[in-house]
Amino acid sequence: MTEPATVAVADSFGRATTRGLWAALRSRPQFWVSVVLLVLLAVVAALPGPVAMLFGESDPRACDLLASNQPPGAGHPFGTDVQGCDVLANVLFGTRTSLFIGLATTAMSLAIAITLGTLAGYLGGWVDALIARGADVVLGFPFLLGAIIVLNTAPDRSPLVLSAVLAFFSWPTFARLIRSSVKEVREREFVQASHALGLSPSRVVLTHILPNSLASTLAIAATMVGGVIGAEATLTFLGVGLVPPSISWGVQLSTAQSYFQLAPHTVLFPSIFLTVTVISLIMLGDNLRDALDPRGRT
């Protein structure tokens, strides 16, 4: 055939799944929007002080109770919260913790879920039974009870500990999803073909089964980030959340809840940041997913 050699042969060797990935991503405006937003968030998370400086208030803990719940205005572009602290500064300073909790929890939860879900789905039998029943138990185990016990025994209530607790209680959903798609993919012919090639089971799982089973899990993983950031607010509400001087969107939201009718801006701004974060992550995830799937790339 005399096709124009659009892609050099050498290009495709060694790169199993990435041909055209960048080209596909590059041409998507959504990809860029999400990347820009996430980079901005990352900058804020890394340097909240200097960023807050740009807007005039760089200390989230400089509070004036006499100026409690002031609506947005001069000096306080996002207004003040019930303690009279600058909402903007708090939102900016909360970014790091909230992003950390959201991402770390999701990452840990996914790590557990992928490991256990894959083992259960791939090996089946008693391993499956053990893991699946374990997941059932975790699901049914009262979160509050677990959280109290862990947070009470943990030496400090750091975002990491909190993430670990949240992750521990959230992996079963993912694990079940992964388990069921692994069960399905395991039966596909190309997997059998890889077995027949004498590849080790772990390699088959890692390179063939997992990439073809993760789609559904990743689809909701991004929404989970938002859920977790929100859940952290609930934790504070229940008395097992982060403690000062940690600043997070969750703590802000949970505080603002009591005053949202008086001072809606105190709920509004952290919520906006939360939404933007989640949507950027989802957009990024969707684009990556489409781009990673060769059939969706074109």
Binding site: M1, T2, E3, P4, A5, T6, V7, V9, A10, D11, S12, F13, G14, R15, A16, T17, R19, G20, A23, A24, S27, E187, R188, E189, F190, Q192, A193, S194, H195, A196, L197, G198, L199, S200, P201, R203, T207, H208, P211, N212, L292, D293, P294, R295, R297, T298
Partner: protein, 541 residues
Amino acid sequence: MSERLLEIDGLSVGFRSPDGGLVPAVDGVSLDVRDGEIVAIVGESGSGKSVTAMSVLGLLPKNAEVTGSIRLRGEELLASGRTQHDVRGRRIAIIFQDPFGALDPVFTVGFQIREVVRTHFPELSARDRRRRVIELLAAVELRDPAQRARSYPHQLSGGQAQRVMIAMALACGPEILIADEPTTALDVTVQREILDLLIRVRERDGMGMLLITHDMGVVADVADRVVVMRDGRFEETQTVDRLFANPEAAYTQQLLESVPRLDAAERRSSAGDEPALEIDDLTVEYRRGLRSVTAVAGASLTVARGEVVAIVGESGSGKSTIGKAITGLAPVRSGAIVVDGLDVARLRTRQAMALKQRIGIVFQNPMGALDPRWTMAASIGEPLRIHRSLRGRHLEARTAELLDAVGLARQCASRYPHELSGGQRQRVAIARALALDPVLLIADEPTSALDVSVQSTVLELFRTLQAELRFACLFISHDLAVVDSLADRIVVMSDARIVEQGARRQILLDPREDYTRRLLNAAPVPDPDQQRQRRQQRAAA
């Protein structure tokens, strides 16, 4: 028999690649099909046959760019915005090349056919629909159609799935049937029945047919006119007699020359004495719900080092299952499989993995056997990377070598499975199986989707490699001519059992069993005259 049913005019199709380039697949082809006419498209694998067929129904992926004109009884299909909805199924039916991919994995085949019947014949009662489905399944020669209707696609053999597709296409009673390699996975007896069925339908309803096939015997048997395709263009269009009598295009001549003939000529065998594969009293049972299906019953066979043993036989008789059982992919009920002196069932995981490296396998369904997320180069390179630890330049070189060996253009290396034609995928699968210089090669219909010229190249390669490496080979095929040209011994299977096995010439020239005789008789020969005679004889009988 002269009404113009389908007219294709200056059709060109190109695929847009992510970086904006346009890869041409079909380049300005024109063709027409009249009422009751069977037009065959033959030609090089990857030349655009399937793409042409698919563009008739507007089923190409979104990145395809189509120009030209396609008319059904004068009605333009391409331009009309109403995406041929009333045309699809009802007026034009299509049988896809990859029958597994074309069936919804989560519904029974009965349901899927019934659904088509309901769509096109809403007036039928549920009971009648059910009856119709059984009739259709019976018409495509499926055994126990009522029970087959309750099977899921993954429970079917390749040929069974293909027949389900045919039944589904016929369910709508179309004006024109586009059949993309409808009988490649069928054994010759069933193939003959199916072809007879298609001809009957044509006679009864005046259905036109666009038949894509590699089997010149089939072409000779049923086609009225033939189009030869290569590189996205039509090389020549001829009536079937003229084509076989005096082909004009050089490519056509080459094609016809490559057609293997079943002559059972004397040939030296390179078979050794030590057995590479011994199968003893193998029984394989699939559980299907509460019942179980015996796919292989008490099969025993041996393949010596350097020997090529072909398995031929009825579709669904358990040929693929034997191949799968050897690599541990089928539920063995009893019996022993010994490869290279090692009992497969007794091996620990590590040993089993090591053993599997020495077994190459080409699956019957090349689309399914390739990871959809991996490029061809990666798929072929995988065993090399892992078992041979090849990297970078060496890996590239070896992969390129393999691609060349199976006659694939190097551009294909960077494509994904869905971007390849059926034959291209099949060649990738072969290349992968050969990558590790196997001791035992199990090849399940490895050339079914290849055009005869590529097929002969591949077979040639096979022979060379085999002579060189002296691997044992279990070769599953429906094409008796291919079997003849390659095998040392032949095993004939029917209904889960081995009915007969013996040396090639003995089986081909002096079959003992009835079934084998029928099989041999049904094999089409690439000669229109001869086929016509056979058909008349059958009609007379």
